[in-house]
Symmetry: C2
Subunit: 339 residues, 2 copies
């Protein structure tokens, strides 16, 4: 096993949709540490889990949980992250946070390792992982941005129910079954029916008619690319797909980028894979992106409505690169750097 600078690693929220995958990834990718600890809400505390063929018990998350912890990877609701992660920083741990709470705080680093690893390495406190819909878009933007600064983005999303947690996916499955049988279903998470429907709202109203999810795509993208001048217009839509977000993206760059240039730049960039042959029906789709750590790009073409425009389609597993994988990659980055 690779040597770790982190003797004790604590995973917070390991029983959630993203948390479960963080555990899988730490196992699969053999993340090195002497001790792993698993922190959860009081409700789950005391229940068992198996990690790397060893038995563990969830410990209740308190403000004293982080003594002796070197690295924290947290995937919790915003209010939990707000309340407890400052104690982890105070206890001297490196903290990687999946929640939305800390991302836009000035002193917090917002990191996609392929784009701005230096932000993670220079971070004094919390290192936040972006919102799932941001991560795949900003990763796809970066190789283009490196050719010519992106001035404007118009994005419409096709987001999976897993983004609303395990219960989101249960809602989709059970409501679809009910609908096919002509039965009623009481939704647990969704306020509008998701079975065989499209809901043009994710999150709550944030500002100027845009939702919180849409404004995350605006503000987080600017912060990660370090460019407050990129103009971004997002429309976030939930569709009846249980995992993997899709995005229809149009960008305008300072100087034109041809589809061929873009295809080459995408293909050469870490974490991105190009699937792009319309003639033979080859393009990324949710059903064949599930379980993968890549961001897939296809339908790459000149935006015929603007001389400096480029349009493409982007799909990624929102629980993996959109969340768990990105967090674990940040942990690996820190481990490699401090070793």
């Amino acid at each position: 096993m690779e040597k770790s600078v982190f003797k004790t690693v604590a995973v917070v929220g390991a029983s959630g949709a993203v948390g479960r995958i963080i555990l899988e990834l730490l196992e699969e990718r053999e993340f090195p540490a002497e001790t792993f600890r698993f922190l959860s809400s009081a409700r789950s505390a005391g229940t068992d889990l198996v990690f790397k063929n060893q038995d563990y018990v969830f410990e209740e998350l308190t403000k004293d949980s982080f003594k002796g912890v070197d690295l924290v990877i947290a995937s919790t609701p915003d209010d939990t992250a707000a309340e407890f992660l400052p104690y982890a920083v105070e206890a001297g741990a490196k903290v990687i946070d999946e929640s939305g709470y800390w991302r836009m705080h000035e002193e917090v680093a917002l990191v996609v390792p392929e784009i701005n690893p230096e932000a993670a390495l220079n971070a004094k406190g919390i290192i936040a992982s972006p919102n799932c819909s941001t991560t795949q878009m900003v990763l796809a933007m970066k190789p283009l941005y490196d050719i010519s600064p992106i001035r404007r983005v118009i994005v419409s999303t096709y987001q999976a129910t897993s983004g609303a947690g395990l219960v989101g996916t249960e809602d989709l499955i059970h409501s679809s079954q009910a609908r096919l049988q002509g039965e009623e279903y009481d939704y647990k998470v969704f306020k509008q029916p998701i079975a065989f429907n499209a809901i043009p709202q994710i999150g709550s109203h944030k500002q100027d008619g845009y939702t919180s999810e849409e404004m995350k795509m605006v503000n987080e993208t600017r912060k990660i690319l370090g460019d407050p001048n990129i103009m971004i217009n997002a429309t976030c839509v939930r569709i009846p797909v249980w995992n993997c977000h899709s995005e229809s993206i149009t960008i305008e760059t300072e100087t034109p980028i041809s589809p061929e240039q873009a295809r080459e730049a995408f293909a050469a960039f870490p974490g991105i894979e190009v699937i792009d042959d319309l003639e033979t029906g080859q393009y990324p789709m949710p059903y064949n992106s599930d379980g993968s750590d890549e961001v897939y790009v296809g339908r790459i073409r000149k935006d015929i409505s603007h001389p400096n425009g480029l349009t493409f389609w982007c799909v990624s597993d929102n629980l993996r690169k959109g969340a768990a994988t990105n967090a674990v990659q940040i942990a690996e980055l820190l481990n490699k750097h401090y070793k």
Copy 2:
């Protein structure tokens, strides 16, 4: 019953997804005619149907079918429309065509009655009804265009399986059932799985990386609005919804239109209904637009990425206003005019 200028009306392709609704509408809206005839392929010829509580038999469509016919409403595959409709024109009938074949022919009128009724009235030959994804978008564009010319449109669609015909919807239902039960399913129409998936291709590759469906949205919109200079960039995506297309639309106008102005203009325009209150979760969705003849618009907001931009969400029943309703409205327009 209202008097008709059309003594004999022939409906071609009345057993298809759109054809069935054309019959419903002719009944419901009491379209006046002395004689109705129903033409079909040789395969369906001889089978019975009931219309306005009377028994009819499908007659085989041949080049001699149109003798004595005053009005033809046709909803057929492109090749059928290409082969047979010229005989209808030759026989002196007014011809309303739902297929894609004739729309862009120079001598053919392409009509949305709320937008360009004069094109239908001046038509010498075939009057075509636009593609479903075009109709709802162009109708929503018109009241804005009347305030300030639209220079650019970026649209991403969320299209229902009913657009691929009755078998398209059967594919969705059966494949969803199979997927929920962990079984395989052999698709009849879709080349890619549609159950719990999103397919970023509708139609075949047409030009420059755009599909035929996407280029229909470009070319038909320009023709209907009579403005060849509007720049349009479309991404057409099939999602697992059985009826009603949704569209995420961003426009740029010559001078800015405020969301308030847009909301008023939409609300005042025939055929459009505004459902727009994000705070209380009010916006158009496929599940509550099914069976309606309106084009619903919501999520109306300033495009925060462009000073002259406006963004909105638009849903309509693609079998009705997107097809059958528009065709019957054209027939009603002609009847009213020539009376």
